[in-house]
């Protein structure tokens, strides 16, 4: 009883808040923090062009899913795709909006950027606490001719629940069976070894001050702060450096068409040039909308972003979705229905 009263009050206050925000031709959304810089840059440009603003609360993927499920926002955003069964249960649809990658970074004296080479299984064992020294023979085998110090490895991980954690652990679980069994994938996992730090900045600064530290951050963050990244071995057995091109290569091989509910995580994709830890950030909307005008406004914005947002995304070191995927998504929007039928024509 108490719970219901509380829930009603909460919903009422949220609806009031959302209602007030909607009044001035605004698109409301909430969710992931990872794509927030891109979304807000798009929103600025879009507002200059059309006068329609966007109110996006970067409260985290979990919060975004909660708000879209409670119908307090027009769209939700999540770094991890929702499972097709959950989509169906909640009457939602999802599509990828923008892509990025996760990049391992290290602090090793004497090694230049990208000089350290690792493969997925080794990385998984480092994070599982099984490989503890940098001159371990498995690391040496991948780095012939590189002078590796005999320092202890200090793995640094993201302490708070995040989409970055999801991508990274999803990849490690894919390439290492023992990692999948003992640690598993998720937004928050219990890391057996190393140090937890807060956000990209916390991980980067912890790695920077720890000799022998290794961490993982979003590509945009690694690039803008000029961190010492690791060259990774991909599924095809080739070593690749993280770059917009290698993310695009991973995305290009992704088979969105045959992914039910567009549930697709782009880690460990085939292709010689593919960066192995790539992922898309997703938008969630209801299939049956109560306010078709608001839904139409949001879809018009996303349509605009697909067509005109690529340069803005790349300038922030994010990867725009390829045109063929965008077309596929646009076709999929036809499933969204309001009281008067199809919202997107």
């Amino acid at each position: 009883m108490f719970k219901r009263v509380a829930a009603t009050l909460l919903t009422a206050s949220l609806t009031l808040g959302a209602g007030a925000a909607m009044a001035g031709e605004t698109i409301t959304g909430a969710g992931a923090t990872f794509p927030y810089p891109v979304y807000s840059k798009w929103a600025d440009a879009y507002q200059d062009e059309t006068g329609i603003g966007m109110n996006y609360q970067a409260i985290g993927s979990g919060g975004g899913i909660k708000q879209i499920t409670a119908k307090t926002v027009t769209f939700g955003a999540s770094d991890a795709p929702m499972k097709p069964a959950d989509l169906k249960k909640n009457g939602l649809m999802q599509w990828p909006m923008v892509m990025g990658g996760v990049v391992p970074v290290v602090n090793l004296a004497g090694l230049s950027k990208g000089e350290l080479h690792l493969d997925g299984a080794t990385l998984a064992d480092i994070y599982a606490g099984k490989i503890t020294e940098w001159d371990d023979k498995r690391i040496k085998a991948l780095n012939a001719g590189v002078e590796l110090p005999d320092t202890k490895i200090t793995p640094v991980y993201r302490a708070e629940g995040s989409g970055t954690n999801f991508l990274f652990t999803h990849y490690l679980s894919e390439v290492s069976e023992s990692f999948a069994k003992t640690i598993g994938e998720g937004k928050s996992v219990a890391w057996p070894a190393g140090v937890g730090a807060k956000a990209n900045a916390g991980v980067a600064s912890q790695v920077a001050q720890t000799n022998g530290g290794i961490g993982y951050v979003e590509f945009a963050y690694a690039k803008q702060n000029d961190l010492n990244y690791v060259t990774m071995k991909n599924k095809a057995g080739k070593f690749v450096a993280p770059s917009i091109e290698s993310f695009k290569a991973a995305a290009g091989n992704a088979d969105w068409k045959h992914a039910p509910g567009m549930y697709l995580v782009l880690t460990n994709q085939p292709g010689d040039a593919s960066w192995p830890i790539t992922g898309a950030s997703f938008i969630l909307m209801h299939l049956n909308v109560e306010d078709p005008a608001a839904a139409k406004r949001a879809l018009t914005f996303f349509d605009w972003a697909y067509s005109n947002g690529s340069d803005a995304a790349e300038s922030l070191d994010y990867v725009p979705m390829p045109a063929n995927v965008a077309d596929m998504v646009r076709a999929d929007w036809k499933r969204i229905k309001g009281a008067d039928g199809q919202v997107w024509k």
Partner: protein, 315 residues
């Protein structure tokens, strides 16, 4: 005079010689008084109701975790949200250890500062020094967190690399907490120490006591309750501190019987995971919040009990 307001409002005819205007004023004052006491009572009760409501809400929202996880919730040694394995031991252990370290470090320093300020300090320094300590209490906790991450952790790591290989950990968090609670304990201890009548002090000095003997045998015994109160306030803050701790505690979610290594605390764990939590994880975090409530309550109750026992043995 001589009549209380209550009498006046009940039977004004008893007020011999009071004029009509005066009676009216008295009646109005009576109403105001009742209104005032009523509203203060209301505010006091509101606090209690709020506290109760928070506890009940936390318990109800945490109930699924209690019922679904059962005993493993209390005995589990890791908090792995992705596999729905929630054990509170690492967080409870970290909370208690960091707070204990904080109290261990902060109490002697705070008492020392307070003794210096009240007994030894040159008069012209008293004010600026006291104000400085109080200012320390006003520093936002996020600033302490940043200082801990950028200054204290690297410092420990550089100078004691064997003990603090990564700089962060339970001890680092305990040290930050100590710095945070020193101003509270100091301010309260100083305030209660100045309440000791100068006559008592001067008599003791007159008998030939040293400063230490005066502090130890005259000042401390008469203000013990107040000092313990200050420590309890500090402890309460240490148990629930979130932001600063999250930055430096290392956030390891496994239970390890370590004092200098990485761990987590209840508040830090909630702060890290709540925004992205749903389902059982969310409920487990709320249950953890309820437990923090209970732990704080128990610790404070023990402190009160100790105080009472001390008073009794003295009597």
């Amino acid at each position: 005079m001589g009549y209380t307001m209550k009498d006046a409002s009940v039977s004004p005819s008893h007020l011999l010689g009071a004029e009509k205007g005066e009676l009216q004023m008295l009646r109005r004052n009576g109403r105001l008084d009742r209104l005032f006491s009523g509203s203060t009572f209301f505010f006091a009760v509101t606090v209690l109701v709020l506290l109760g409501a928070i506890m009940v809400t936390l318990f109800i929202s945490g109930w699924p975790a209690f019922s679904e996880l059962g005993a493993s919730f209390f005995t589990g040694t890791r908090w792995a949200a992705n596999v729905n394995d929630f054990g509170i031991l690492p967080a409870v252990y970290g909370t208690l250890v960091t707070s204990f370290i904080a109290i261990l470090v902060a109490v002697p320093i705070s008492f020392g500062i307070a003794i210096f300020l009240t007994e030894l300090c040159p008069v012209f320094l008293r004010r600026p020094l006291g104000t400085m300590v109080e200012l320390l209490a006003g520093v936002p906790s996020i600033i302490y967190g940043m200082w801990g991450m950028e200054v204290l952790a690297p410092f420990l790591q550089r100078h004691l690399p064997d003990v603090f290989p990564a700089g962060t950990g339970l001890t680092t968090a305990g040290l930050i907490l100590a710095v945070m609670i020193i101003p509270f304990i100091t301010a309260i201890t100083r305030d209660v120490m100045v309440t000791v009548p100068p006559m008592l002090r001067e008599s003791a000095y007159g008998l030939g006591c040293t400063t230490w003997e005066v502090v130890r045998n005259v000042v401390f015994p008469s203000v013990r309750a107040g000092m313990v109160g200050g420590v309890i306030l500090g402890l309460g803050r240490a148990l629930g501190e979130t932001m600063a701790v999250t930055f430096v505690i290392g956030n390891n979610l496994f239970y390890k019987a370590t004092v200098t290594g990485q761990g987590t605390s209840i508040a830090a764990l909630i702060a890290n995971q709540f925004p992205e939590a749903d389902g059982l994880q969310r409920s487990a975090l709320l249950a953890l919040g309820f437990l923090l409530f209970v732990i704080t309550f128990i610790v404070l109750a023990i402190a009160r009990l100790m105080l009472r026992r001390m008073d009794r043995s003295k009597a």
